[in-house]
């Protein structure tokens, strides 16, 4: 709950949250909210916004643009959600587990994710969507599969930070199974970072779904999608030059709200670990960290802090893992020395050794 409050600490993120909520409502109830039949053709073609009862005007066969945007939201947003779901499933879970895998399995998995990242998403999606009989399922699988490496890397990096904590070692010594450790100790701590990645990936997936809709993959005309509407607008640029504004606005607002939410979540998490770090000054808290009681929330936070602040398993991982998009980190200086000593991360230490 505290994380939730800190996430929505700024107006910027609150606005994004409201926008996202509206988008989701439209995605679920879009067809019912539409003032007009999204497929019903009218006499007035290329009507300007606000004229003849059409709030956003009409398209090249006289269909109401607003109704098409609203009822197209479902396909556009829900397919993006499905892409992220596939990515989460294929990426996050193996990512967490890989931290406990053997060396060769690690080597293989990392090369495999590298290989996935070498595939250009849109081209790959064209190929897969074409090969599948159902283009939309193909597009969802293709983008979802290519989102998986991000989740894999982030989940793995986060888990590695926790996997060598003393309380995990203690649990291992007590004979706890890996499954139990992951369920009990790791999962909940990795979750917030994965939430950030989920938000940024969802922003990306919205754009990808729109791109594929634009190329005519997935939902077929005349059923509306935001990307498909843009494609139709491009065909008729000479007649109605400013029509692409509206679908573009819907796509951009959705993507923006998700990115802003990710920013807020990231800042909220950073604020949280910052607060907890202060607690280390308290000797009792320090002791609690040395002898962690699994059920003591204070100890849990401290342990998280061990991974989040300057320890050898350090800043680097947590910070970067919480920070997956190069574009998404405007307010947190990301380069040298912004968070703790450069090279203090685990890898730096290892390389010296």
């Amino acid at each position: 709950m505290d994380t939730f409050r800190r996430t929505f600490a700024t107006t910027y993120v609150r606005v994004a949250g409201v926008v996202l909520l509206l988008v989701l409502i439209v995605a679920v109830f879009g067809g019912a909210l539409a003032p007009d039949d999204p497929l019903g053709q009218g006499d007035a073609i290329f009507a300007h916004a606000g004229t003849s009862g059409h709030l956003l005007g009409t398209d090249y066969v006289g269909r109401d643009v607003l109704s098409r945007l609203l009822s197209g939201a479902g396909a556009s947003v829900l397919s993006a959600a499905a892409m992220v779901g596939v990515g989460l499933l294929l990426g996050a879970i193996p990512g967490v587990l890989s931290a406990f895998a053997g060396r060769w399995a690690e080597f293989g998995l990392l090369r495999f994710t590298d290989a996935m990242m070498a595939l250009p998403p849109i081209v790959f999606a064209i190929a897969i969507a074409g090969l599948f009989t159902n283009g939309q399922v193909g597009a969802i699988i293709a983008i979802g599969v290519l989102l998986a490496p991000r989740f894999f890397r982030i989940a793995r990096a986060e888990t590695l930070g926790f996997a060598h904590q003393q309380y995990v070692e203690a649990a291992t010594l007590l004979g706890a199974s890996r499954t139990w450790i992951v369920r009990r100790h790791i999962w909940r701590k990795v979750l917030p970072t994965i939430a950030v990645t989920t938000a940024t990936s969802a922003g990306y997936a919205v754009l990808a779904a729109a791109s594929l809709g634009f190329l005519g993959l997935g939902v077929q005309a005349p059923d509306p999608t935001w990307g498909g509407m843009l494609a139709a607008n491009v065909e008729h640029l000479a007649e109605d030059s400013w029509a692409p504004i509206w679908p573009g606005l819907f796509i951009a607002l959705t993507a923006w709200s998700l990115n802003a939410l990710a920013d807020g979540l990231r800042d909220g998490l950073a604020a949280e670990s910052g607060l907890v770090r202060g607690a280390v000054d308290d000797p009792d808290a320090l002791l609690a960290g040395v002898v962690p009681a699994a059920d003591d929330p204070h100890a849990r936070d401290l342990a998280a802090d061990g991974a989040a602040s300057g320890g050898p398993d350090g800043t680097g991982d947590r910070d970067h893992a919480a920070d997956p998009a190069p574009g998404g980190d405007g307010r947190v200086p990301v380069g040298a020395g912004a968070h703790g000593r450069p090279g203090a991360g685990r890898e730096g230490v290892r390389d010296v050794g």
Binding site: L131, L237, G337
Partner: protein, 359 residues
């Protein structure tokens, strides 16, 4: 838009010291660098670039091409029957399958396909009976030109904006750059391209709204045709680069060595370009490198906006007709471009930073 894992495939096998610009690499989410003793040993033996290439790029190339082959193998549904139509006899279908080599086992097919692909022979289209390699070679220059113009745009605009914003931190330019960049990042790049057509072609009539002129025919015409799609494609990446560079440059300018250089009386220009920027540029360059797969996808969409006869249209047609060699060929070609750009970016990063070079 993409992850911040700075090292592309291949960078992983190089250790990073604790240089000021390095923490992003040093602790980035993953990189094969993290982890095992096995990798550490490999890394120790990969001081020379040739070996880094072998251990980084070659496995990635092998795995990604294997994914491509496996996928297309599983998805392809009897193309011979499809080509010959409903009246084809089973013998004719079997004959055609044999001539395409489809009656062999999976691994036999894979090895022969890979062997041919390595030598540049990407096979023949099932349905048009033309060489896939030649068709790609004809179309690739269009997408490459768009991508390169986009990269140049991203580097020039991104570095200029990011540097000015960092040097004038908190000033009006900084705020404008930050605002414009954060807006640009959420706008789909193909929508930017559409609006660029509306503005510069339909309304102002300055530039053509589509079509293509090869560079060797008329460089000036070529530039006019490539400018709109290329620049609008590059703007999103430019915004990413600007944000990344601003962040790392701001921190670099706060470093001790910058204070030291100032104390030694070096000129602000020398400090900025000789020291701070040199150290801060790496994440920004890596951002450009990571954007290459996205840019290739953007080029494919730009093709369809501007009506360019490029790789994307070829892939779309191939996918619609289930033309497996075409799909495989396009994917292999794009993977090759991505991997080559990774190697180039790695080499650049290694040159840029003494810590990596030393390794």
């Amino acid at each position: 838009m993409s992850t911040t894992t700075i090292p592309g495939p291949g960078t992983g096998s190089r250790p990073t010291g604790g240089r000021p610009a390095a923490p992003r690499r040093a602790g980035g989410p993953e990189g094969p660098r993290s982890s095992t003793g096995l990798l550490r040993q490999l890394r120790r033996r990969t001081a020379r670039p040739g070996r880094a290439l072998l251990l980084g790029v070659v496995p990635v190339a092998l795995i990604s091409t294997f994914i491509v082959f496996l996928m297309t193998y599983l998805a392809s549904a009897n193309p011979a029957a499809q080509k010959l139509g409903e009246n084809a006899t089973p013998e004719a279908i079997a004959r055609l399958n044999h001539s395409w080599g489809l009656d062999r086992g999976f691994f036999e097919q894979y090895v022969s396909w890979l062997g041919h692909a390595v030598t540049g022979d990407l096979g023949t289209s099932y349905f048009t009976d033309t060489s896939v390699g030649e068709a790609i070679a004809q179309r690739l220059p269009i997408d490459l030109a768009l991508t390169i113009v986009a990269i140049v745009t991203a580097i020039v605009l991104g570095f200029a904006a990011g540097t000015i914003a960092a040097v004038r931190r908190g000033g009006i330019v900084d705020r404008v750059v930050t605002l414009v960049a954060s807006v640009l990042i959420t706008i789909p790049e193909f929508w930017l391209a559409i609006m660029a057509v509306v503005l510069f072609s339909v309304t102002l009539g300055w530039l053509p709204s589509g079509g293509w002129v090869p560079f060797h025919q008329d460089p000036w015409q070529w530039l006019q045709h490539v400018l709109l799609p290329g620049v609008s494609l590059g703007l999103t990446v430019a915004a990413q680069v600007a944000r990344q560079l601003r962040g790392s440059l701001v921190s670099a300018l706060d470093e001790d060595y910058v204070v030291g250089a100032r104390v030694r009386g070096l000129s602000p220009r020398r400090i900025l370009f000789g020291h701070a920027l040199r150290n801060a540029a790496a994440p920004a360059i890596a951002t450009v490198g990571l954007a290459v797969p996205t840019l290739l996808g953007g080029a494919v969409i730009a093709e369809s906006i501007f009506g360019l006869p490029g790789l994307g249209q070829y892939a779309l047609n191939g996918a619609q007709s289930h033309d497996v060699p075409v799909i495989q060929g396009v994917l292999v070609a794009t993977i090759a471009i991505v991997l080559i750009s990774n190697v180039v970016v790695d080499a650049l990063l290694a040159r840029l930073r003494p810590a990596t070079r030393k390794a």
